[in-house]
Amino acid sequence: MRPPRVVLAKPGLDGHDRGVKVIAMALRDAGAEVIYLGLRRSAAEIVQAAADDDVDVIGISVLSGAHLQLVGDLLREREARGLGEVPVVLGGTIPASDVQELRALGVAAVFPVGTDLLEAVDGVLSLASRNQETR
């Protein structure tokens, strides 16, 4: 089996990229292949990269408070491109009161500020391996 492959990006206009870069480095050290798209990526660009690179997980990071809308855009784009089986995970300043709604929308895992680094890495990797098994 090939190593788990994850696309990471920041949608919307938020520039806080400390967290997503730390996650990228930690995933890479844990053996994953990470495709980091950088800032201000549209839902279409993120899903396109996920399709092109045949990734196991899509990870996005939002610290501006706009997560509900941006996640909605991404999930709609994912369905439209027929990539519904690729799990989407979200990190950032996400109030606990939004987590349930995000899960209901179809986000596979939410890692709010304060999540332990290794817990986030394990969470992404286990989603990735589950995705590989179900293919």
């Binding site: 930690a26 800032l39 300043t93 680094l117």
Partner: protein, 534 residues
């Protein structure tokens, strides 16, 4: 923990710390390295009497939703004893998009106030006398545009430009480095930043047209030593660019201001702030030949570190912020922002922001630390650390210069890599428990036994449509020919050279939107995309 006890004891930046310091640990010539407060080399402070003469400016960074909502928050803060204003703009405003733009809608009013036209700026300061209140603007890529809208608001209040006091962040280099709200490539971005400084030097004598900032690089992950070295590298890059524009160093340097983070390693932070003043004095005099003593007198704003705050046990953040504010005061800050204890979740609630202001007031009025200037001077440890940080930051500055100076190094992503690697190191140390965080990796709550989440700020979703509708009305009401002429004139100056501020003032007065003015620059200068860090 047994293995960790064998690790050398260091500051957060990794400088070694001895068990005890004595006079023998401080190099000779200390009096020359210190001077007196208000005198060269300004190690002890920019002013002779410091807080005995005037307390620091208490300036809580605030903005959300529409201009009216933010105006109400400003009145709330001023009524509670805040002494100046600090505007947070939403991301569309920072990135030159009107609220109606497709890429803007999710972000309108989220992390700051939405400003589409000069009329919004008029509303933002409604009833707040711009001749009396100093205003800080955290704005960079669109700094000249936002300054123009502010000047129109002042004009509308009948306040002459010469009376305006405040600071425009206008430090585009640190956007590429760390904060990431850049729009245009580095070259034209530097031109815009320098145009603002040139215009302000001529027309805004009480206004700081730039705040050269290490804060964001620090928040993005670098350590105190790197923060200082990178800030000085940027200050040199701006100075060289302005000199290249034909300006005299002593003409602009007295109005340069700085912005540093103050985090939790109390003595290292105080030493860093003292070292910063001495370092800038040396650069100003030795490198740029400053004759005016004010050119080498570093003044700074201190922001607490948001990244030191935790989502776990959020009330602990009040204690963290208090220590950081104390560090800024002991380090001689001119103005201070204290983070809200709830900022790991949302922008601060009224309760949280009041507590931040009260933190400043208690330190100012009850702790007694303001009674004498630079109270830690002469401490064997603090003086030794001040010298070591200056030397280590000087080494960082040399590395940046070896990489081609701030602009070239940033274009090549060199310091960005230092910052990301340092952030990763810190997070791994927290995850492994080497770096203690109370409530996170020590003294944690049992799952399910966490205290209540604070009552968070609630965002009003309705503001987006209201803001879009109001801007549409204002756009419909403007004189079409005046507006078109102003946009064409701005385009010509952007293309042909010359200072962009005069045509921006005309365009803002003619009702041009922030998005329209930004689009002129986008057409002429293009847009920047950061190279992949790996």
């Amino acid at each position: 923990m047994s293995e960790d006890r064998d690790l050398p004891v260091t500051t957060d930046s990794g400088l070694p710390v001895q068990t005890v310091y004595t006079a023998a640990d401080v190099d000779g010539g200390l009096e020359d390295r210190l001077g007196l407060p208000g005198a060269a080399p300004f190690t002890r402070g920019p002013y002779p009497t410091m807080y005995r003469g005037q307390l620091w400016t208490m300036r809580q960074f605030a903005g959300f939703g529409s201009p009216e909502e933010t105006n109400a928050r400003y009145r709330f803060l001023l009524e509670r004893g805040q002494t100046a204003l600090s505007v947070a703009f939403d991301l569309p405003t920072q990135l030159g998009y009107d609220s109606s733009h497709e890429q803007a809608r999710a972000e309108v009013g989220r992390v700051g106030v939405a400003i589409d036209t000069a009329e919004d700026m008029v509303d933002l300061f409604d009833g707040l006398a711009l001749g009396d209140v100093s205003v800080n603007f955290t704005i960079n890529a669109t700094a000249p545009i936002i300054l123009a809208t502010y000047l129109i608001a002042a004009e509308r209040q009948g306040v002459g430009f010469e009376r305006l006091a405040g600071t425009l962040q206008n430090d585009i280099l640190k956007e590429f480095l760390a904060r990431k709200t850049y729009i245009f490539p580095p070259g034209p971005s530097m031109r815009l930043s320098c145009d603002v400084i040139e215009f302000a030097t001529d027309q805004l004598p009480r206004f700081n047209p730039i705040s050269i900032t290490g804060y964001h690089a620090r928040e993005a992950g670098c350590d105190a030593v790197q923060e200082l070295g990178l800030t000085m590298a940027s200050a040199i890059a701006y100075s060289e660019a302005l000199i290249g524009k034909g300006m005299a160093f002593d003409g602009f340097a007295p109005r340069l201001s700085f912005h540093f983070a103050t985090t939790l390693d109390l003595f290292e932070e105080v030493a860093k702030l003292r070292a910063a003043r001495r370092m800038w004095f040396r650069i100003a005099t030795e490198r740029f030949g400053a004759k005016d003593p004010r050119s080498g007198r570093l003044r700074f704003f201190s922001g607490n570190s948001g990244t030191t705050l935790t989502a776990q046990q959020p009330l602990n953040n009040i204690v963290r912020s208090t220590l950081q504010c104390l560090g800024a005061v002991l380090g001689g800050a001119q103005s201070i922002h204290v983070m809200g204890y709830d900022e790991a979740f949302e922008i601060p609630s009224e309760e949280a922001v009041t507590l931040s202001l009260r933190t400043q007031q208690i330190i100012a009025l009850e702790s007694g630390v303001t009674r004498t200037v630079d109270p830690l001077a002469g401490s064997f440890f603090v003086e030794r650390l001040t010298d070591e940080i200056e030397a280590a930051a000087g080494a960082v500055l040399s590395e940046v210069e070896a990489a081609g100076g701030a602009i070239v190094a940033i274009e090549n992503g060199v310091p960005q890599r230092w910052i990301a690697e340092s952030a990763y190191r810190t997070e791994r140390e927290i995850a492994r428990g080497i770096r203690p965080k109370v409530g996170v990796n020590v003294y944690t709550d049992d799952p399910g036994a966490e205290g209540p989440t604070p009552a968070l700020f609630q965002f009003d979703e309705g503001i987006v449509e209201r803001q879009i509708a109001r801007t549409a009305e204002r756009v419909a009401a403007r004189d079409v020919r005046t507006h078109a002429g102003a946009i064409a004139a701005l385009d010509a100056v952007a293309r042909e050279g010359g200072n962009v501020m005069p045509p921006l003032l005309i365009a803002a007065r003619a009702g041009a939107t922030v998005g329209e003015m930004s689009d002129v620059f986008r057409r002429v200068f293009g847009e920047f995309r950061e190279p992949n860090p790996w």
